[in-house]
Amino acid sequence: MADSTYPLPGSLETTPKRWSQAAVLEWLNSWVITVDHKKLGILYMLYSIFFLLVGGAEAIALRIQLFHPNLHIISPEVFNRLFTMHGTTMVFLVGMTYIFGFANYLIPLMIGARDMAFPRLNALSFWLTFFGGILLYYSFIGGGGLYGAGNAPDTMWWAYAPLTERAFSPGHAPDYWALSLIVTGFGTIGASVNVIATALCMRCKGMTLMRLPLLVWLNVVTSGLALITITPLTAAQVMLLIDRYFGGHFFDTQAGGSAVVWAHFFWIFGHPEVYVLVLPAFAIANEVIPVFSRKAIFGYPAMVSASVAIAFVSLGVWAHHMFTIGMSSAGNAFFVLSTELVGIPTGIKIFNWLATMWGGKIRFATPMLFCTAFVVQFLLAGLTGIMLSVAPWNWQLHSSYFVIAHFHYVLVGAIVFCIFGGIYYWYPKVTGRMLSEKLGKWHFWLFVSGFHVTFDTMHIPGLMGMPRSIYTYEANRGWGTLNMIVSIGGIIQAIAVLIFAVNLIWSYFKGKVAGNDPWDAWTLEWAIPSPPPVYNFATDPVVTSRRPLWDIKHPEDPDWKYE
């Protein structure tokens, strides 16, 4: 086919098919056996949102216990389990799955492919992740163990040895933690392999690497990083299990093993992991911000190289989580430098978003609201990160609520905001209906205010000496009022998230019909009907620039002239 053609947006109106047309069982079965990237993407997203609610509910429980000094609403054991499960859930079951939700759904559509490179591997990866999550939560029931001790994991998400060794954690709590994460880890590896292979090998004609939408690029970088990031954790967890089941001594300090080695292994995973989580959020912002500013992304090559640079540098900064562990001063200084270097490529990204918005005609629909808030919040979060990277100051701030505030500012203020923005943006493509703008505005404004009430305030108790992971605190420390404010903010967030959940369901049935291209956007997925047909593209598209739909809409001034 030399002259490939594809329909203009708005032309191919098909009424979305309703599930009620099929028998429910058959319908359910179709979701279980599916190997379609779109369905798997939706499954990943639902899974992620479900665990966001679970993890969020756990956070609210934590906040209720910390509402006031010396409360005894939750016992210390349960509190420890709750924050461990909260952290583990949010990072591994929410953070690691939203990535593949968006990646699975969007990458084939954006590069003009019919499916992922390995559809069956894709399904396998999802179900591994799924069972990993179930396994983690089964620990609440099955974690009692032979000795009657233990339960759900209760050793923080860092699971520092030797606290996780048999001697200090009898029962099965750390086993569930390690096993379930090994299982989800294999899911992640499978999915990452798939993303890379898809993006490199399934591109439609004309989609050169430098024309890939930024979302695809960032997901490739993320997946590459995930491959070398998740595996060290898997390795360390295997060692932990060897210690616990075969009487090994890797982290057994009584037999000459080392506690510091676990810390290194964990953070060799743990630090790059946070960039694995945040890069796909950047990816979403990279798609949303240009469309709502009505301008091409500013400095595309710089965006790509900055992402690659972040990934590389992030491999060499892990010990900034360990400034207090007693490294040599030269070691400390090295990790100060490498950590602060990450600020440079990240700064480039912030400035590029700013420049993209500069001189545009910014339309503040809900997706853009979330992404704008993201830019501001990420800026501040990055700067508190810089403060933490100053080793001597870190000796004070480490393991205090300042750190908690820093990383919630990124994890919630950047990632969750981008997830919400992305969902508002692509929901019409997935379901064929718009999310309600009215509920969306409510959701947004409540969530930002709740977010700032909670996490702005949270920095202060950290500066006032409040450590993390404590189930209660002394009344005379002066942390009471602040914690109360933090807790109230958490509840405001919960209300906002509830509105979001309502919006998701309500709009599915009653939302405005979207049409192919409701946002007047530029990437390939908007050229096909919403929801897309099973085969995605009737004919294989051919592209000649980064913004194929812009070229069609503006034949007088197409992009390829400038690339």
């Binding site: 210390p76 420890n80 400095g299 700013l354 800026l379 080793a391 500066l463 002394e474």
Partner: protein, 349 residues
């Protein structure tokens, strides 16, 4: 070094002002006597140096934030779409090498400055040579309590660390050697120094030289198990005279008072002696705190409660009342035994 740090202060007065305002506002709200271990109220050289550095870093990051955030605010207000019907597209700009170069180079310079300042401070604090006059203390972290050994003075103190006052004229810093008996803990008294982890099979060091007498609170800062929250720390900075008096008392054998012999008998015949030491008695256990001078302390069980007779009795009856999950078991003593042991322990000044 103090002088060096002072140089940063005017630079960053504005940022500090904002923080202090929130700080003052906070204290105004709460009732009762406060002992807030704020890192902005330093009382020892490491903490003071860090405080100075923190103001400097706050000023830099604050300036970056103000600059970038105001540009963002400008963009948001200036370039928003006005009117739904305006559908024309703005001019497309794809990038600009000069601008992009600028915002790469400026951050590089900032990073260089930040790094150099930070590195200097790391070496200054971490590699400070130990003066002859320094006091050595070995800190041993246990699950939910602290042990403080003064090797040169032959003292085994528990939970409450006493150190002498230090002043620029007669420096008397305290050098801590940190060890752990079980899992990782972290020694943190914010007003005196940053924290250092306390790790099994690994030796860490830190130092303090408190400049004002008084009580400084802190707590274990690395999650170490169920009662991590109640592994509190109290550091008493004593004037030289007070410190000498305290040392003298700690070096004594345990008080041996015949009127409480019954209690001592209970202590020595129950399992207590397997875990606790009382010098001059048969009790030489090492799993729990040394009780030789337990009444010289203000608190029990690493700050979980005030040290008085009722609390002591209740603690021995049922440690979970104060510290659910502490590693001391309830010994199932009867009321009489409880009274006797409490009476005996109350004499151990």
């Amino acid at each position: 070094m103090l002088a060096k740090c002072q140089r940063y202060i005017p630079l960053s007065a504005k940022c500090a002002g904002i923080l202090f305002a929130s700080f003052a506002w906070q204290t105004a709200f709460a009732e009762g006597p406060q002992s807030t271990p704020s890192i902005f109220a330093p009382a020892s050289t490491p903490a003071t140096s860090i405080y100075g550095l923190s103001l400097f870093v706050l000023a830099i990051t604050g300036a970056i934030f103000v600059t970038v955030a105001s540009m963002l605010a400008f963009v948001i207000f200036r370039f928003r779409q006005r009117g739904e019907d305006d559908t024309s597209e703005p001019p497309q700009v794809y990038g600009s090498t000069q601008v992009e170069l600028a915002w790469t180079v400026i951050p590089v310079l900032i990073v260089v400055v930040l790094f150099l300042t930070t590195a200097r401070m790391i070496f200054a604090i971490q590699d400070a040579p130990q003066p002859k006059s320094a006091l050595d203390v070995t800190v041993v972290g246990h699950q939910y309590w602290w042990e403080f050994n003064y090797p040169k003075l032959g003292i085994h103190a528990v939970n409450e660390l006493h150190v002498p006052l230090s002043s620029p004229e007669s420096p008397k810093p305290t050098y801590l050697t940190l060890l752990s008996a079980d899992v990782i803990h972290s020694f943190w008294v914010p007003q005196l120094a940053g924290k250092t982890d306390v790790i099994p099979n690994n030796i860490n060091k830190m130092w303090i030289d408190p400049q004002h007498p008084g009580l400084y609170v802190g707590q274990c800062a690395q999650f170490c198990g169920v009662e991590h929250a109640k592994m509190l720390l109290r550091v008493y900075v004593d004037t030289p005279e007070d410190f000498a008096k305290w040392v003298k008392n700690q070096q004594q054998q345990a008080v041996s008072d015949e009127t409480v012999a019954a209690g001592r008998h209970v202590f020595e015949t129950q399992a207590c002696m397997n875990c606790h030491t009382i010098s001059g008695t048969a009790a030489t256990g090492r799993f729990g705190p040394d009780l030789t001078h337990m009444m010289s302390r203000d608190t029990l069980a690493s700050g979980a409660m005030a040290n008085n007779k009722e609390n002591l009795r209740e603690w021995i009856r049922h440690p979970d009342t104060f510290k659910e999950g502490s590693l001391m078991p309830a010994m199932q003593l009867n009321d009489q035994q409880l009274d006797q042991v409490t009476a005996y322990l109350s004499t151990l000044r």
